[in-house]
């Protein structure tokens, strides 16, 4: 239990620092901006209580906001992400399977499930984030382009980092 706690704390700190000091400065063609920090919410254990899940998402979002000067923006998007996560997991995973697969990682769940999971959650998060940031429909085409290219970039980074820390399920 405490091992899970420590792992997640380290993951939180590393992802926030990585996002604020490295990924913040990266943008491809001024269109594609990666938001890798949401990997923290993606990898929280299945059995996280809903209250804790939403609280952590909110705290993560507001921390990123502090570095990005956009209070509330990332927090709102992260809360949406947490809600989609709850729905997605309740649809695709059986409750009794939790005992031997505590965390939704690539090694535990297999590539197909993890890819769909990450893609759906990232798309929701980015769609919400970019539209809330612009907050007008007149630049819709440009916003959608930014949203799609950024989603692809983030998904790419999420998969890369998952393969980097790949650990096969022990059976």
């Amino acid at each position: 239990m405490s091992r899970v706690l420590i792992f997640n704390l380290i993951r939180f700190a590393v992802l926030v620092l990585l996002q604020a000091f490295l990924l913040k400065n990266i943008s491809l063609y001024n269109l594609s901006v990666p938001y890798l920090y949401i990997l923290f919410i993606l990898l929280l254990p299945f059995e996280t209580p809903n209250l804790l899940l939403f609280l952590l998402s909110f705290v993560l979002g507001i921390t990123i906001d502090a570095f990005y000067d956009t209070p509330g923006l990332h927090a709102a998007a992260c809360v949406v992400l947490a809600f989609v996560r709850v729905l997605f997991i309740s649809i695709t995973v059986q409750k009794d399977g939790f005992d031997n697969e505590p965390e939704p990682t690539l090694g535990n769940m297999g590539f197909r499930w993890f890819f769909t999971y990450a893609a759906v959650l990232i798309l929701f998060h980015h769609f919400f984030l970019f539209n809330l940031e612009v907050f007008r429909l007149s630049e819709l085409q440009y916003t959608l382009l930014r949203f799609l290219s950024s989603s692809v970039f983030t998904l790419f980074l999420v998969l890369i980092s998952s393969f980097l820390f790949y650990r096969r399920k022990e059976r």
């Binding site: 604020a20 001024n30 909110f58 927090a75 709102a76 809360v79 947490a82």
Partner: protein, 278 residues
């Protein structure tokens, strides 16, 4: 009552979602309308210090470019020194010219946080109210206009860069003195701005310099903004719109100068009379 609790418990994810979402959106909207009067930004203790550290590291890696730009600026300033002109009259005398009083003073500051790829971009600088910086001052760099101060704390300030939805600078074409206003273009390119509201009779040409106008109360007149690159930008109606290449490279800002206009208050007071007069 019990059924209600069971219902809430069954769909607790949804209710939690609604609560936290409302909370986030309230913060987001409130921050937008109250002009950043909140502590969740890069001028607070923790993020400010962290950004300061990282910027120190970055500035070492970029020393060569900074030195180059400072040397260029030194050369330019040296050119304007009295001593670099020779007198072609025989009699030499020194005159203390009381006709000139200093109107603008400059405070140099280091950039510790910066962004160019968002819809609204801000820059954090390492000078604050303790150094005499107040909200509304203009900010320039050695190559041109950067933005204006929107929020200060004791040691740090937040600058609204030209790359912002609400940024608007009174500008003019350098050689013909035709007035317009410079805004950031809709395509969010950090190198390009839009010079709007130029009267229709003006015949601008590509490569012409765009500088700050004499009407601006933030910047001295003649600070470069950029060069005209395209005469047929979209929109405009009865006025001319043209595309301008910013002279400042916002992604590489290291040092900026905060402009203190000593007549700004006096001017604001004077122009407030105009409203009372109507």
């Amino acid at each position: 009552m019990r059924n209600l609790l069971v219902f809430i418990n069954k769909y607790n994810a949804f209710f939690l979602f609604v609560i936290f979402e409302i909370f986030s959106l309230v913060i987001y909207v409130k921050y937008n309308s109250f002009q950043r009067a909140t502590y969740i930004n890069t001028t607070n203790e923790v993020t400010g210090t962290l950004y300061g550290r990282v910027s120190e590291l970055n500035s070492y890696l970029d020393l060569k470019n900074v030195n180059d730009s400072l040397a260029t600026e030194n050369a330019r300033l040296r050119n304007t020194l009295k001593s670099s002109y020779y007198a072609d009259t025989l009699a030499k005398r020194t005159v203390t010219d009381s006709a000139y009083k200093q109107q603008y003073t400059y405070t140099e500051a280091r950039v510790i946080n910066n962004s160019v790829n968002k819809r609204n971009n801000y820059i954090t600088i390492q000078k604050g109210s303790k150094d005499g910086i107040v909200k509304g001052m203009g900010v320039i760099s050695s190559t041109g206009v950067v933005g204006k101060i929107v929020y200060t704390t004791e040691h740090l300030s937040l600058v609204q860069s030209l790359l912002h939805k609400d940024a608007k600078v009174s500008a003019m074409l350098a050689d013909t003195k035709d007035i317009g206003s410079l805004i950031w273009g809709d395509d969010l390119n950090p190198r390009k701005g839009l010079l709007t509201d130029v009267p229709n009779h003006v015949k601008p040409h590509i490569g012409q310099w765009v500088v700050t106008s004499t009407y601006s109360d933030l910047y001295p007149a003649g600070i470069p903004l950029g060069k005209v690159t395209n005469l047929h930008a979209k929109g405009g109606g009865f006025f001319l719109n043209m595309e301008v290449n910013f002279s400042v490279d916002f992604s590489k800002l290291q040092y900026v100068y905060v402009v203190n206009n000593k007549l700004a208050l006096e001017r604001a007071g004077l122009e407030a009379q105009e409203k009372q007069d109507e």
